[in-house]
Amino acid sequence: MQIYSLYLISRSGSLLYQRDIDSVGSPITEQNSNDYLVIASNLHGMHAIASKFKPNLSTKEENNFNKSGINMNSNKTGLRCIKTDTFNIFLHQTVTGLKIILITSSDTIESEISSLQNEIYRLYSDYVMKSPFYNLEMPIRIKWFDEVIINTTKKYNIRVNINTNNTNKISTSAK
Protein backbone atom coordinates (compact mmCIF):
# COMPACT_ATOMS: atom_id res chain seq x y z
CA MET A 1 0.00 0.00 0.00
CA GLN A 2 1.24 3.43 -0.89
CA ILE A 3 -0.10 6.87 -0.10
CA TYR A 4 0.54 9.08 -3.10
CA SER A 5 -0.91 12.39 -2.05
CA LEU A 6 -3.00 14.23 0.48
CA TYR A 7 -5.55 17.00 0.00
CA LEU A 8 -7.24 19.02 2.73
CA ILE A 9 -10.33 20.90 1.60
CA SER A 10 -12.26 23.34 3.75
CA ARG A 11 -15.99 23.24 4.34
CA SER A 12 -16.52 25.90 1.69
CA GLY A 13 -14.52 23.93 -0.85
CA SER A 14 -11.25 25.80 -0.97
CA LEU A 15 -8.02 23.86 -1.10
CA LEU A 16 -6.17 24.28 2.18
CA TYR A 17 -3.33 21.89 1.68
CA GLN A 18 -1.88 19.58 -0.94
CA ARG A 19 1.15 17.39 -0.57
CA ASP A 20 2.57 14.66 -2.74
CA ILE A 21 3.88 12.09 -0.32
CA ASP A 22 5.32 9.34 -2.42
CA SER A 23 5.78 9.70 -6.15
CA VAL A 24 7.56 6.36 -6.68
CA GLY A 25 5.29 4.28 -8.87
CA SER A 26 2.56 6.86 -8.65
CA PRO A 27 0.30 6.96 -11.69
CA ILE A 28 -0.42 10.55 -10.85
CA THR A 29 2.20 12.74 -12.40
CA GLU A 30 3.22 15.97 -10.83
CA GLN A 31 0.76 18.75 -11.51
CA ASN A 32 1.16 22.46 -11.38
CA SER A 33 -0.49 24.33 -8.55
CA ASN A 34 -3.43 25.33 -10.69
CA ASP A 35 -4.19 21.69 -11.47
CA TYR A 36 -4.26 20.90 -7.77
CA LEU A 37 -6.93 23.55 -7.34
CA VAL A 38 -8.93 22.02 -10.19
CA ILE A 39 -8.64 18.52 -8.76
CA ALA A 40 -9.71 19.77 -5.34
CA SER A 41 -12.73 21.66 -6.57
CA ASN A 42 -13.79 18.72 -8.75
CA LEU A 43 -13.58 16.29 -5.85
CA HIS A 44 -15.50 18.72 -3.68
CA GLY A 45 -18.21 19.03 -6.34
CA MET A 46 -18.42 15.31 -7.08
CA HIS A 47 -18.78 14.62 -3.39
CA ALA A 48 -21.68 17.04 -3.19
CA ILE A 49 -23.36 15.63 -6.30
CA ALA A 50 -23.00 12.07 -5.07
CA SER A 51 -24.85 12.97 -1.90
CA LYS A 52 -27.89 13.85 -4.02
CA PHE A 53 -28.05 10.29 -5.34
CA LYS A 54 -28.32 8.76 -1.93
CA PRO A 55 -30.73 5.89 -1.58
CA ASN A 56 -33.56 6.68 0.78
CA LEU A 57 -32.33 4.83 3.82
CA SER A 58 -34.31 4.77 6.99
CA THR A 59 -31.66 6.18 9.27
CA LYS A 60 -31.26 4.44 12.57
CA GLU A 61 -31.43 6.75 15.56
CA GLU A 62 -28.18 6.07 17.26
CA ASN A 63 -26.74 8.39 19.83
CA ASN A 64 -23.18 9.26 20.65
CA PHE A 65 -23.16 7.05 23.70
CA ASN A 66 -22.80 4.09 21.42
CA LYS A 67 -20.83 5.34 18.50
CA SER A 68 -17.90 7.24 19.94
CA GLY A 69 -14.43 5.88 19.56
CA ILE A 70 -15.02 4.16 16.27
CA ASN A 71 -14.23 5.70 12.96
CA MET A 72 -15.56 9.20 12.91
CA ASN A 73 -16.24 9.78 9.25
CA SER A 74 -19.22 12.07 9.07
CA ASN A 75 -19.23 11.60 5.32
CA LYS A 76 -22.31 9.40 5.25
CA THR A 77 -24.07 10.02 1.98
CA GLY A 78 -21.40 11.80 -0.03
CA LEU A 79 -18.76 10.27 -2.25
CA ARG A 80 -16.47 8.24 -0.03
CA CYS A 81 -14.25 6.34 -2.36
CA ILE A 82 -13.24 6.09 -6.00
CA LYS A 83 -11.51 2.87 -7.01
CA THR A 84 -9.60 2.33 -10.22
CA ASP A 85 -7.13 -0.28 -11.38
CA THR A 86 -4.15 1.90 -10.64
CA PHE A 87 -5.19 4.11 -7.74
CA ASN A 88 -7.88 4.80 -5.15
CA ILE A 89 -9.23 8.04 -3.74
CA PHE A 90 -10.66 8.16 -0.22
CA LEU A 91 -12.74 11.06 1.04
CA HIS A 92 -13.14 11.59 4.76
CA GLN A 93 -15.21 14.42 6.16
CA THR A 94 -15.12 15.68 9.74
CA VAL A 95 -18.15 17.03 11.60
CA THR A 96 -16.87 20.56 10.98
CA GLY A 97 -16.74 19.90 7.24
CA LEU A 98 -13.01 19.51 6.70
CA LYS A 99 -12.32 16.99 3.95
CA ILE A 100 -9.27 14.78 4.28
CA ILE A 101 -8.63 13.21 0.90
CA LEU A 102 -6.02 10.55 0.22
CA ILE A 103 -4.91 9.29 -3.15
CA THR A 104 -3.42 5.87 -2.72
CA SER A 105 -2.33 2.80 -4.63
CA SER A 106 -5.10 0.35 -5.51
CA ASP A 107 -4.09 -2.29 -2.95
CA THR A 108 -5.22 -0.32 0.07
CA ILE A 109 -6.39 -1.61 3.41
CA GLU A 110 -9.37 0.48 4.37
CA SER A 111 -8.95 0.26 8.12
CA GLU A 112 -5.41 1.58 7.72
CA ILE A 113 -6.69 4.43 5.60
CA SER A 114 -9.22 5.53 8.17
CA SER A 115 -6.73 5.34 11.00
CA LEU A 116 -4.32 7.44 8.94
CA GLN A 117 -7.08 9.95 8.24
CA ASN A 118 -7.77 10.23 11.96
CA GLU A 119 -4.08 10.73 12.63
CA ILE A 120 -3.89 13.48 10.02
CA TYR A 121 -6.86 15.13 11.70
CA ARG A 122 -5.00 15.06 15.03
CA LEU A 123 -1.94 16.64 13.45
CA TYR A 124 -4.12 19.29 11.82
CA SER A 125 -5.68 20.19 15.15
CA ASP A 126 -2.27 20.41 16.83
CA TYR A 127 -0.02 22.04 14.28
CA VAL A 128 -2.50 24.12 12.31
CA MET A 129 -5.20 25.05 14.81
CA LYS A 130 -2.73 26.00 17.54
CA SER A 131 -0.70 28.30 15.32
CA PRO A 132 -1.40 31.99 15.82
CA PHE A 133 0.17 32.60 12.42
CA TYR A 134 -2.52 30.61 10.65
CA ASN A 135 -5.82 32.23 9.66
CA LEU A 136 -8.81 29.94 9.24
CA GLU A 137 -9.79 29.04 5.65
CA MET A 138 -6.39 30.10 4.32
CA PRO A 139 -3.87 27.81 2.61
CA ILE A 140 -1.70 26.02 5.15
CA ARG A 141 1.98 26.91 4.93
CA ILE A 142 3.42 25.51 8.12
CA LYS A 143 6.83 23.92 8.03
CA TRP A 144 6.45 21.53 10.94
CA PHE A 145 3.07 20.42 9.68
CA ASP A 146 4.69 19.43 6.37
CA GLU A 147 7.30 17.46 8.23
CA VAL A 148 4.94 15.55 10.51
CA ILE A 149 2.54 14.84 7.66
CA ILE A 150 5.31 13.36 5.53
CA ASN A 151 6.69 11.32 8.44
CA THR A 152 3.31 9.99 9.48
CA THR A 153 2.19 8.96 6.03
CA LYS A 154 5.56 7.45 5.16
CA LYS A 155 5.31 5.38 8.32
CA TYR A 156 2.08 3.93 6.93
CA ASN A 157 3.67 3.29 3.56
CA ILE A 158 6.53 1.35 5.04
CA ARG A 159 4.62 -0.52 7.70
CA VAL A 160 1.92 -1.71 5.39
CA ASN A 161 4.42 -2.57 2.68
CA ILE A 162 6.16 -4.96 5.04
CA ASN A 163 2.84 -6.56 5.85
CA THR A 164 1.82 -6.95 2.23
CA ASN A 165 5.24 -8.31 1.32
CA ASN A 166 4.89 -10.93 4.01
CA THR A 167 1.47 -11.98 2.88
CA ASN A 168 2.73 -12.16 -0.68
CA LYS A 169 5.51 -14.45 0.39
CA ILE A 170 3.13 -16.69 2.26
CA SER A 171 0.79 -16.93 -0.64
CA THR A 172 3.58 -17.76 -3.09
CA SER A 173 5.03 -20.42 -0.81
CA ALA A 174 1.60 -21.92 -0.44
CA LYS A 175 1.43 -22.32 -4.17
Binding site: D126, Y127, M129, K130, S131, P132, F133, R141, I142, K143, W144, F145, E147
Partner: protein
Amino acid sequence: MPSPTSPLPSPGTLRRNQNATSLIYDKNIYRNNKNVSLSSLQFLIMEIVSQYMKNTNNILKIERKLNNLGYSIGLKYLNLISTKNNFINNITSNGKSNTSHRITKLIDFLHFISNDIWLSLFNKSSNGLEKSSDNEFQFMIIDNNPIISSFLSPTQEYNSLSIESFTAGIIEGILDTAYFQCEVSAHRVPIVNYPNKTIYLINLKQ
Protein backbone atom coordinates in the same frame (compact mmCIF):
# COMPACT_ATOMS: atom_id res chain seq x y z
CA MET B 1 0.26 18.72 62.47
CA PRO B 2 -0.19 22.48 62.49
CA SER B 3 -2.79 23.72 60.12
CA PRO B 4 -1.27 25.70 57.28
CA THR B 5 -1.46 29.40 57.83
CA SER B 6 -3.31 31.31 55.21
CA PRO B 7 -1.53 34.12 53.40
CA LEU B 8 -1.77 37.47 55.14
CA PRO B 9 -4.93 39.21 53.95
CA SER B 10 -4.59 42.83 53.01
CA PRO B 11 -6.56 45.43 55.00
CA GLY B 12 -8.96 45.72 52.11
CA THR B 13 -9.76 42.06 52.18
CA LEU B 14 -10.28 42.05 55.93
CA ARG B 15 -13.07 44.52 55.44
CA ARG B 16 -14.97 42.22 53.14
CA ASN B 17 -14.11 39.09 54.98
CA GLN B 18 -17.72 38.02 55.01
CA ASN B 19 -17.93 37.91 51.27
CA ALA B 20 -18.13 34.66 49.39
CA THR B 21 -14.84 35.29 47.67
CA SER B 22 -12.98 35.36 50.94
CA LEU B 23 -13.53 31.62 50.99
CA ILE B 24 -10.40 31.36 48.90
CA TYR B 25 -8.40 32.02 52.05
CA ASP B 26 -9.74 28.84 53.54
CA LYS B 27 -8.64 26.75 50.62
CA ASN B 28 -5.55 24.68 51.02
CA ILE B 29 -2.92 25.76 48.54
CA TYR B 30 -0.62 22.91 49.44
CA ARG B 31 -2.86 20.10 48.44
CA ASN B 32 -3.85 21.62 45.18
CA ASN B 33 -2.38 19.17 42.72
CA LYS B 34 -4.96 19.31 40.01
CA ASN B 35 -4.19 19.23 36.35
CA VAL B 36 -5.65 20.69 33.21
CA SER B 37 -4.93 19.78 29.64
CA LEU B 38 -1.79 21.26 28.14
CA SER B 39 -3.88 22.05 25.06
CA SER B 40 -5.96 24.54 27.02
CA LEU B 41 -2.83 26.53 27.81
CA GLN B 42 -1.56 26.24 24.25
CA PHE B 43 -4.84 27.57 22.88
CA LEU B 44 -4.73 30.44 25.35
CA ILE B 45 -1.22 31.38 24.24
CA MET B 46 -2.21 30.97 20.58
CA GLU B 47 -5.06 33.40 21.00
CA ILE B 48 -3.21 36.03 23.00
CA VAL B 49 -0.45 36.07 20.39
CA SER B 50 -2.93 36.55 17.58
CA GLN B 51 -4.48 39.38 19.59
CA TYR B 52 -1.07 41.01 19.79
CA MET B 53 -0.57 40.47 16.08
CA LYS B 54 -3.77 42.35 15.32
CA ASN B 55 -2.29 45.47 16.83
CA THR B 56 1.28 45.24 15.63
CA ASN B 57 3.46 43.15 13.40
CA ASN B 58 6.58 44.34 15.11
CA ILE B 59 8.16 41.15 16.39
CA LEU B 60 10.01 42.89 19.21
CA LYS B 61 6.81 44.46 20.50
CA ILE B 62 5.01 41.12 20.49
CA GLU B 63 7.89 39.47 22.33
CA ARG B 64 7.94 42.33 24.81
CA LYS B 65 4.25 41.79 25.61
CA LEU B 66 4.69 38.04 25.95
CA ASN B 67 7.62 38.69 28.23
CA ASN B 68 5.48 41.02 30.36
CA LEU B 69 2.77 38.42 30.57
CA GLY B 70 5.26 35.86 31.87
CA TYR B 71 6.97 38.37 34.13
CA SER B 72 3.86 38.99 36.21
CA ILE B 73 3.55 35.22 36.68
CA GLY B 74 7.19 34.93 37.70
CA LEU B 75 6.75 37.60 40.37
CA LYS B 76 4.09 35.51 42.09
CA TYR B 77 5.42 32.10 41.30
CA LEU B 78 8.52 32.20 43.46
CA ASN B 79 6.41 33.10 46.47
CA LEU B 80 3.99 30.31 45.74
CA ILE B 81 6.58 27.63 45.28
CA SER B 82 8.67 28.68 48.26
CA THR B 83 5.61 28.75 50.51
CA LYS B 84 4.81 25.28 49.33
CA ASN B 85 8.36 24.07 49.86
CA ASN B 86 8.38 25.50 53.37
CA PHE B 87 5.25 23.61 54.12
CA ILE B 88 6.68 20.35 52.88
CA ASN B 89 9.87 20.93 54.86
CA ASN B 90 7.81 21.70 57.93
CA ILE B 91 6.10 18.36 57.74
CA THR B 92 9.30 16.42 57.30
CA SER B 93 10.94 18.23 60.22
CA ASN B 94 8.12 17.47 62.66
CA GLY B 95 6.47 20.82 62.53
CA LYS B 96 9.53 22.80 63.47
CA SER B 97 9.54 26.26 62.07
CA ASN B 98 10.72 27.18 58.64
CA THR B 99 13.63 24.93 57.81
CA SER B 100 14.08 25.82 54.20
CA HIS B 101 16.59 28.52 53.55
CA ARG B 102 16.66 31.22 51.02
CA ILE B 103 19.01 30.48 48.20
CA THR B 104 21.39 33.40 47.95
CA LYS B 105 24.08 32.07 45.66
CA LEU B 106 23.37 32.84 42.05
CA ILE B 107 24.49 29.49 40.69
CA ASP B 108 22.40 27.59 43.22
CA PHE B 109 19.44 29.71 42.37
CA LEU B 110 19.83 29.12 38.64
CA HIS B 111 19.98 25.39 39.33
CA PHE B 112 16.83 25.76 41.38
CA ILE B 113 15.12 27.38 38.40
CA SER B 114 16.33 24.94 35.80
CA ASN B 115 15.33 21.93 37.91
CA ASP B 116 12.70 22.63 40.58
CA ILE B 117 10.85 25.46 38.89
CA TRP B 118 10.95 23.72 35.54
CA LEU B 119 9.60 20.58 37.11
CA SER B 120 6.70 22.32 38.78
CA LEU B 121 5.83 24.41 35.74
CA PHE B 122 6.40 21.95 32.93
CA ASN B 123 6.57 18.53 34.58
CA LYS B 124 10.18 18.00 33.51
CA SER B 125 13.67 19.33 34.14
CA SER B 126 15.36 21.57 31.65
CA ASN B 127 18.06 20.09 29.45
CA GLY B 128 20.91 22.05 30.89
CA LEU B 129 22.30 25.15 32.53
CA GLU B 130 25.38 26.68 31.00
CA LYS B 131 27.61 29.62 31.68
CA SER B 132 28.66 31.81 28.82
CA SER B 133 32.36 31.47 28.12
CA ASP B 134 32.96 35.06 27.15
CA ASN B 135 30.67 36.93 29.52
CA GLU B 136 30.62 36.14 33.21
CA PHE B 137 27.21 37.74 33.66
CA GLN B 138 25.57 35.57 31.07
CA PHE B 139 23.91 32.21 31.65
CA MET B 140 21.81 29.90 29.54
CA ILE B 141 19.02 27.50 30.38
CA ILE B 142 18.43 24.99 27.63
CA ASP B 143 15.20 23.20 26.83
CA ASN B 144 15.19 20.78 23.90
CA ASN B 145 11.44 20.70 23.63
CA PRO B 146 9.62 23.54 25.38
CA ILE B 147 6.06 22.39 25.89
CA ILE B 148 4.17 25.65 25.51
CA SER B 149 5.36 26.24 21.97
CA SER B 150 5.75 22.62 20.92
CA PHE B 151 3.26 22.97 18.05
CA LEU B 152 4.05 26.55 17.09
CA SER B 153 5.95 26.13 13.88
CA PRO B 154 7.84 29.23 12.79
CA THR B 155 6.60 30.83 9.60
CA GLN B 156 8.47 32.82 7.02
CA GLU B 157 6.91 36.06 8.07
CA TYR B 158 7.46 35.63 11.78
CA ASN B 159 10.50 33.41 11.66
CA SER B 160 12.41 35.09 14.44
CA LEU B 161 9.43 35.51 16.77
CA SER B 162 9.91 33.37 19.83
CA ILE B 163 6.73 32.47 21.68
CA GLU B 164 8.99 31.25 24.45
CA SER B 165 9.56 34.91 25.37
CA PHE B 166 6.66 34.10 27.66
CA THR B 167 8.71 31.54 29.57
CA ALA B 168 11.68 33.92 29.48
CA GLY B 169 9.43 36.47 31.20
CA ILE B 170 8.57 33.97 33.92
CA ILE B 171 12.27 33.34 34.59
CA GLU B 172 12.97 37.06 34.63
CA GLY B 173 10.18 37.64 37.12
CA ILE B 174 11.44 34.88 39.40
CA LEU B 175 15.03 36.14 39.30
CA ASP B 176 13.90 39.69 39.95
CA THR B 177 11.91 38.70 43.04
CA ALA B 178 15.05 37.02 44.31
CA TYR B 179 16.99 40.26 43.78
CA PHE B 180 19.00 39.02 40.86
CA GLN B 181 18.22 41.76 38.39
CA CYS B 182 18.45 40.55 34.85
CA GLU B 183 16.99 40.39 31.41
CA VAL B 184 15.99 37.08 29.90
CA SER B 185 15.36 36.41 26.25
CA ALA B 186 14.44 33.24 24.38
CA HIS B 187 16.15 32.06 21.21
CA ARG B 188 15.28 29.10 19.07
CA VAL B 189 18.26 27.03 17.95
CA PRO B 190 16.85 24.09 15.99
CA ILE B 191 18.90 20.92 15.83
CA VAL B 192 18.15 17.50 14.38
CA ASN B 193 15.15 15.91 16.15
CA TYR B 194 14.62 19.03 18.22
CA PRO B 195 13.27 21.68 15.85
CA ASN B 196 12.09 23.76 18.78
CA LYS B 197 15.20 23.63 20.96
CA THR B 198 15.26 26.89 22.86
CA ILE B 199 17.92 28.72 24.82
CA TYR B 200 16.88 31.13 27.52
CA LEU B 201 19.62 33.69 27.69
CA ILE B 202 19.98 35.31 31.10
CA ASN B 203 21.84 38.63 31.13
CA LEU B 204 22.47 39.76 34.67
CA LYS B 205 22.73 43.44 35.40
CA GLN B 206 26.24 44.06 36.64
